[in-house]
Symmetry: C2
Subunit: 325 residues, 2 copies
Amino acid sequence: MRIHVHNMIDGHLDPVTPSDWPEGALAEHVVTFGSDIESFRRAASEIEVLLVSSLVLRDLLPLDAPRLRIISCMSAGLDMLAPYSWLPAEISLLNNSGVHSAKAGEYALMAVLMLANGMPEIAANQSRKTWRQISVGQIAGKRLTIIGLGAIGQECARVAKRNGMIVTGIRRSAGIHPDCEAVLSVAGLAQVLPTTDYVLMTLPLTPETRGMLDESMLARLPAHAAVINIGRGQTIDETALCALLNAGRLGGAVLDVFENEPLQPSSPLWQTRNLIVTPHMSSDDPASHNLRTVEILLDNLAAYVAGLPLPNAFDVVAGTRIATP
Amino acid sequence: MRIHVHNMIDGHLDPVTPSDWPEGALAEHVVTFGSDIESFRRAASEIEVLLVSSLVLRDLLPLDAPRLRIISCMSAGLDMLAPYSWLPAEISLLNNSGVHSAKAGEYALMAVLMLANGMPEIAANQSRKTWRQISVGQIAGKRLTIIGLGAIGQECARVAKRNGMIVTGIRRSAGIHPDCEAVLSVAGLAQVLPTTDYVLMTLPLTPETRGMLDESMLARLPAHAAVINIGRGQTIDETALCALLNAGRLGGAVLDVFENEPLQPSSPLWQTRNLIVTPHMSSDDPASHNLRTVEILLDNLAAYVAGLPLPNAFDVVAGTRIATP
């Protein structure tokens, strides 16, 4: 097929280059690469497939690409592209869900361990050159509630269980999962929070998930509980979270995503008590990101050629991958 | 037997109390508790077993306790009691090796994950209210060299392997271990360092281990490598380590132990580049510490009564537990 790769300039990940492609794929398809709008315009009349950094896709609109059938975006969550009225009906939109799971699982494990070891307080003490021993516990045997059981949430469940935690999953509909003691629907969230030690948010941003961990839900957590968010900032009430942290009514938090990114210097979050801020880096491993992105695209192209459903097809109504469990 | 428990006042762990003992053990033995020297002196003429916080044992010397046969210390490393000339030949000295492993394994995993995720730099950025994305990788597939394969080092090997790392162990003599790709003697350390991604030190302080990771050994590590120490501060050349970190010739470090503790406000370590300082808290879980300490003591008393070797007998010449592999 005729494929164009449109990279972002100045991203924190390297651009996708021919070296990220298996030799066979480069022989089978015609692939061009660019990061400026002119190179896209030159290719536009011919291309059938566009692999694009999600953050710059809007720069290419309106799409004057009559043969285009597949847009594969280099993000798992595509909320930055909503509303999707720009998307012609004949084009399938794909995300790259599956690229981020292994890295995200390690980050989530780190976050839980840091909170269990009192690292927010210890980091603050280090900045004040203060030696103060504090009593900290273990994560083994503690209860983790994962809100969102997509590819990332499921990998986090696997990693947490492997390290001795008891996992409850929250997703659209209740069910079972091999790494979860229970899987509840969103309606069950309120009931599980009072016995939760750690909450891990891995949600995409959709109309249903916006503000899901709001003030009333946060208030149901015990005072020692801690919160981690690696999904989208808008799924938590940041203001309510910070108020609880500053009042000592929550144990701590690690946030990798925020309502407004990048976080501005004026944000009160930088200095919220027992809050660790990381710059939206939980889920990208530069060593594997581009290779896995190309692998996933090629898997989807093989399905397309065979007339099968595309594994990474994105549901623009629900705001999630169609195949997400 | 006649047992006296001598607690430390103002430690970061709770004192050992009757509630930490199984009911049967309190019925079988005569156990008294105290934290002042007078209560020890009152019990001294009768006691056969002393369970004592290692940091205050020296306050009780000289021991005028003619029936005393076992001193069980609440630490794994007993270097703070050397030289051991105060120890009468008829008394067996025990440590509480085995109490710390599970907690230490979690701390070591946290430290590796924090270093892999660039948390020293990210924490510094947070204190400057600076959002800067950095490229970070995964720990799965990376090489961890654990120096010291006692109870703690072995548990760290198990946890690291479970999370996808390739582990090399260093101990007094080469051999095999189920969680290590290789186990080398100390003579093999120089050879393994150039291919090491993470070094984890879990050594007790003995004449052999003092300064083991010295300037010449540190210089053999690749520039991206990182160092973690949860054993004893004197086993690393702190000055050389800090110089390499400040020069950007090592990737980072997490230190929980130091040549001089508590670390003074004047120490340059607090602000060394890419160095995270924690206050000697890697290995104590307050929820299990006292229960496990009593369990281990009772196991050793059972062995003593049966005329068997004591599992936690401490070798005052080697400076380690006799039964350490």
